[in-house]
């Protein structure tokens, strides 16, 4: 009897390891951002539909969202209503990063579907997206007033993700308002 003890122990260990692995498998499909807890990468880019420039340092002192999107991205269309809802809730400002897109296409997208963004920066050749570690639109970053990246969500936003992953990370007096 005693000789089965050790193999049984290893078998139980294997079962435990595989169980945890399978349970966590869905989360593993999403690659966590290397930027979490680090300063948001600096950039200065042209603003969509206006001659000015926008730099991420303009957002210092405020919580904000940075949403990476493009008119070529079908999932961006799926999350657009949620973005509009977030904009209406007036929780925090939203910066759009228009990624490898045509200005004209982006502008007609916003005029047709509604514009949830406070400002849209144009990253036509994808340089800034690389600095932010973007690998697939839509991606949404949450940045704190000190300019530190707090969280990144890959894929379309929905109400559940918004409440669980974003609102819960904001200071309470802000999320309740």
């Amino acid at each position: 009897m005693k000789r089965f003890l050790l193999p049984a122990f290893f078998f139980a260990l294997l079962v435990a390891v595989l169980y945890v692995g399978v349970q966590r498998a869905p989360q593993k499909a999403v690659i966590p951002s290397a930027l979490i807890g680090k300063p948001a990468p600096a950039f200065t880019l042209p603003v969509l539909g206006s001659p000015g420039e926008f730099s991420e340092s303009a957002m210092r002192g405020r919580w904000y969202l940075l949403n990476v999107w493009g008119t070529w991205c079908p999932e961006c269309l799926n999350e657009h209503d949620m973005l509009l809802e977030i904009a209406r809730s007036d929780t925090l400002p939203m910066v759009g990063l228009n990624w490898k897109d045509e200005d004209s296409a982006a502008m007609s997208w916003l005029s047709q579907l509604g514009d949830p963004y406070d400002v849209v920066a144009v990253d036509r050749d994808g340089e800034v997206a690389i600095d932010w570690g973007v690998y697939g639109a839509p991606e949404t970053f949450l940045v704190d007033p000190a300019g530190i990246v707090i969280y990144k969500h890959v894929g379309p936003l929905n109400r559940e993700v918004w409440q669980k992953q974003f609102l819960s990370r904001l200071p309470t007096e802000r999320s309740s308002s």
Partner: protein, 148 residues
């Protein structure tokens, strides 16, 4: 057979020399390093291809980034770090040792040691058991002779 000849001939075109991005760097040494680096970096969108093999837009952007960094005189190590800072360990096809993935590197060695330990114990057991196995060691010897 003749029907397939055009098809077979067209296949001659498929060759590794037709890289996705047949870019020439300013000198052959850089070209070689570019080739190596672009095969070592993962295309984050397709995940099982290197940026050298992938036709998607982001892979092209990352190849451009690698070329720029090479032209700026960055070392291979610096370029790998540059990519890791932005995309995490996952972008490297040959991940580096870090506290986070230490167990991945250590467990195979650990299991080898456990196996070695178990094997030595079993062998020792057999060696000490062998003489006490038969009541008379001479008997087994004779038996072996007879069998032959």
């Amino acid at each position: 057979m003749r029907r397939f000849l055009p098809l077979l001939l067209s296949m001659c075109w498929i060759s590794p020399t037709f890289a996705i991005d047949p870019i020439e760097m300013s000198n052959p040494a850089l070209q070689e390093r570019y080739r190596n680096l672009s095969h070592e970096l993962r295309c984050m969108q397709c995940q099982n291809q290197s940026i050298a093999d992938s036709p998607v837009g982001l892979a092209g952007d990352l190849r451009r980034e690698v070329r720029q960094l090479l032209e700026e005189g960055k070392t291979d190590r610096e370029i790998r770090q540059h990519m890791k800072d932005r995309y995490g360990d996952f972008i490297l096809f040959r991940p580096e040792f870090s506290p986070r993935n230490a167990w991945l590197w250590i467990t195979p060695i650990l299991f080898l040691l456990i196996g070695l330990f178990v094997a030595i114990r079993i062998i020792r057991q057999r060696v000490t058991l062998a003489p006490t196995d038969g009541s008379n060691p001479d008997d087994s010897g004779h038996e072996g002779m007879r069998d032959r």
